[in-house]
Symmetry: C2
Subunit: 341 residues, 2 copies
């Protein structure tokens, strides 16, 4: 195919990001890290690094207005950005919210979105300090930029994982993807189950406390948040660190609700946990000698269960280890914006 | 009209911004200014304030892909954000670029947009440090966040204008709006004229050097960039400062090209200069005792002509003074996203 016939679908999101990196940095002064991690890292300023991250949410790509209550949409839009700050070990400080709206959008809907963002920000003592408001021909567009900071010696990158490190995740995996299946009518169950799983999809919790704890402990080697799915995001850690990983399926933390749904619907919980995406839990790698102290640190913290799910290997590539002893490549999947249908 | 029947068009962009401000600031520590100026202001960090600003550009609202070369679009998208940094007196440092693209968008187009942004950033030693890439169902969406800094004692806000201050603008006014008329087929002229004016619309120059000079001089009282149009943006200065202003039409700086177009096409250059928008020049207010020193300061600087165009008044509201001595309210106009057709 001639180069000038190619579309963005031909190289995908990550190929595109690689293709635009040359020439981005012209003034390296006070810049620690540009494109390539959960946040850009600037500084130091008074001993702290500044973290910047941004996410774009488009109606009918990232959300469907009839499916998610606008208040939840506002909470989620803020949460996914705060999650990127958490993934570097940062304290979230400020948010910019831009919104492009069709002219006939009810004011109530837009105010509910803002109120949702304020609720999420209020819970984490984050200010909303600006943004942009404009018209959009037909679809709602939300763009959020979050700013945080982290003490210079504590920031955790994707690139720090070393062979032998244990891979941990916070919380449970696959609930958000199960919720999305339910919303799309691909799975169903009792009201309470359905409601818990759609809630996991609509109201992810940014793991800011856990991220700070991991960073402050100085016991971890790398961290990322699980937005694209475990396989994809652990893949980012491995690529940045020049290593591989083995995932123990038996160790994947599954919620009671996801297990219950799997019993009554055509849903493979392990597959959702591996590739589902949008869990916004943290994946943290820890050198073996630090694991006991690291686990103790988390044991003291309420609401952030920590599960070891595998280890970093010298050989690159990901391997999935099944409970019966089989070892396979990971299932394909994970969210890719420009995937062909 | 019942409150829950209202749409965003009923209160407009600025009404909407006012309506969402409550509850945005929950943690005022190290926050100097939130919503309400060209940038949010944070800090101080090592004696500098940090500036953050963001702009959302939507296809068919802010640009038409067939009308603007993608390289120019990238330059403009970066420039309008850098202009907001200039408007606070800042040095621009870093840019985040998010892009949502239809799946069939030619890679060449997207790369040209990025290359344009890199060109603009390179000219001003600004790094591109991150962003987001996602799919969009049909329209291209560009969201840019710019970060800069300014020494703590030098930042210029909208709110500092005082009665008697002289109002200056950099460059010439109305060229961008004339270029847009030409692009829309509402005016035409010789190729060279048309090309200069569409260029003014597509390739605005962020006045970073002029903005720094105004701030560094510590002679000015307020500053804003002219994005919505002179009347609208001077109105923002007046509202924030609790004052009014008189604009002398005879003083409005008009380019040779705009004057030439006005002679052959149905275009009122004064009206375009007053309400046209997207000039991205700076409007600066200066106390009378500082004017001579301020003008001298700009006289030494190449490429940034400075014109006095009026003065700040104690009485609120804007008055336009015509060359024949008549005084009128300003023409309505200026860009309002949610204006009803």
């Amino acid at each position: 195919m001639a180069d000038n016939d190619r579309t963005i679908s031909d190289i995908g999101e990550f190929g595109f990001i690689r293709s635009i990196q040359d020439g981005c940095l012209v003034s390296p002064e006070k810049l620690v890290l540009g494109i390539g991690d959960d946040c850009a890292v600037l500084g130091p300023h008074n001993g702290d690094f500044i973290l910047l991250t941004t996410d774009l949410l488009i109606e009918d790509v990232h959300f469907v207005l009839g499916q998610i209550p606008p208040h939840h949409l506002g909470q989620k839009a803020a949460a996914v950005n705060l999650s990127d700050i958490a993934a570097m070990g940062g304290k979230a400080r400020h948010l910019l919210i831009s919104l492009a709206s069709p002219r006939d959008m009810p004011l109530q809907t837009l105010h509910a979105i803002y109120d949702g963002a304020k609720t999420m920000c209020g819970q984490h003592r984050v200010n909303i300090i600006g943004g942009d408001t404009s018209a959009s021909p037909d679809r709602l567009v939300i763009s959020i930029t979050a700013m945080g900071d982290v003490p210079q010696g504590e920031v955790l990158y994707r690139r720090g994982a070393r062979p032998g490190d244990i891979v941990y995740v916070t919380g449970t995996l696959g609930d958000s993807a199960a919720g999305l299946r339910v919303l799309r009518g691909a799975a169903s169950g009792p009201e309470q189950l359905v409601s818990a799983l759609t809630r996991a999809h609509h109201l992810p919790v940014p793991r800011l406390q856990a991220g700070r704890a991991a960073a402050e402990s100085q016991l971890a080697s790398a961290m990322i948040d699980l937005s694209d799915g475990l396989v994809s995001d652990l893949g980012h850690i491995c690529e940045a660190s020049g290593v591989g990983a083995r995932i123990q399926n038996a160790g994947l933390p599954l919620s009671r609700e996801l297990r219950a749904l799997a019993e009554i619907a055509d849903v493979d919980p392990i597959s959702l946990a591996l590739t589902g995406g949008e869990d916004y839990e943290l994946l943290i790698t820890v050198p073996p000698k630090n694991c006991r102290a690291f686990e103790n640190r988390f044991r003291e913290m309420e609401g952030s269960p920590l599960s070891p799910i595998g280890e970093i290997t010298r050989e690159t590539g990901l391997t999935v280890c099944h409970p019966d002893g089989r070892e396979t490549p990971p299932p394909t999947g994970g969210f890719e914006h420009f995937a062909r249908p």
